[in-house]
């Protein structure tokens, strides 16, 4: 599940439900379409409503980091549960994106 909201130069992407390999491909396609269409300065991924994430979510975040960076923008990742934060830090994502 996914919802988009454009706020000035920021594209806010609210993710929800379980993020695993089964769903990651669809999320990737939908996010990339919106990012390519809107060319935001900031891509913000909101995990407030995400109930579970495995390393498929790491691939999703890393891929979006590469895309937004190639367009000159930055990535923000917000509202992480302690579990999701642990998975992201294990992958070193805190060094690539602004995690709040």
């Amino acid at each position: 599940m996914i919802a988009f909201e454009e706020q000035e130069e920021t594209l806010l992407v609210t993710l929800s439900g379980d993020i695993d390999h089964h769903i990651a491909r669809d999320l990737r396609i939908q996010i990339d379409e919106e990012v390519t269409r809107l060319c935001p300065q900031v891509l913000c991924l909101d995990f407030r409503e995400v109930t579970f994430m495995d390393s498929s979510g790491i691939g999703l975040v890393m891929g979006r980091y590469k895309l937004i960076q190639s367009m000159g923008g930055t990535l923000q990742v917000i509202n992480l549960s302690s579990h999701i934060r642990r998975v992201m830090i294990l992958a070193g994502l805190d060094k690539l994106a602004i995690i709040r």
Partner: protein, 151 residues
């Protein structure tokens, strides 16, 4: 270690079954009265191993994923995930963080690192052309015992 309870799942190598495996594991090990964090750790490790079987083991063809769940004494979750897929040529390399054979699918190459981080032990046995078996264990500190100790 004495087996207290045991369950087996056999399902098709379809990605929709990754969620099914997580729910089944969560339900089975709830008997140990785990904390929310412990159950999330078990679900994550299982999700990684099942995804590996589907994405890598059965990359070229469909097959069955077999999951064996056991509760061992004392208060230990035992999980074995087996596929009859392509197998792994070099297990040491496959377990290196960030190593992946499926970068086009944005696989981060962190599946084994996550399993090792969230479980007490992870063992991998594989034969090229025959399949892969991942065996994991985790001691569960019951929520009740945890509450008593932290009170």
């Amino acid at each position: 270690m004495k087996i207290i309870n045991e369950a087996q799942l056999i399902f098709d190598s379809r990605s929709a079954n990754e969620g099914f495996a997580r729910v089944a594991v969560s339900s089975f090990f709830s008997q140990l009265d785990p904390t929310v964090e412990e159950i999330t750790d078990l679900k994550t490790a299982v999700s990684e191993a099942v995804t590996n079987a589907i994405v890598h083991g059965y990359r070229e063809y469909d097959g069955k994923v077999r999951v064996l769940l056991r509760i061992l004494e004392p208060s230990t979750a035992y999980i074995r995930i087996k596929d009859n897929g392509c197998g792994i040529d070099n297990i040491e390399q496959a377990m290196e963080p960030l190593y992946t054979t499926a970068p086009e699918e944005e696989r981060a190459g962190l599946g084994f690192a996550v399993m090792q981080s969230f479980m007490d032990s992870v063992q991998v046995a594989s034969r090229p052309g025959r399949g892969t078996t991942v065996t994991m264990k985790r001691i569960i500190r019951s929520r009740r015992r945890h509450d008593t100790q932290t009170r």
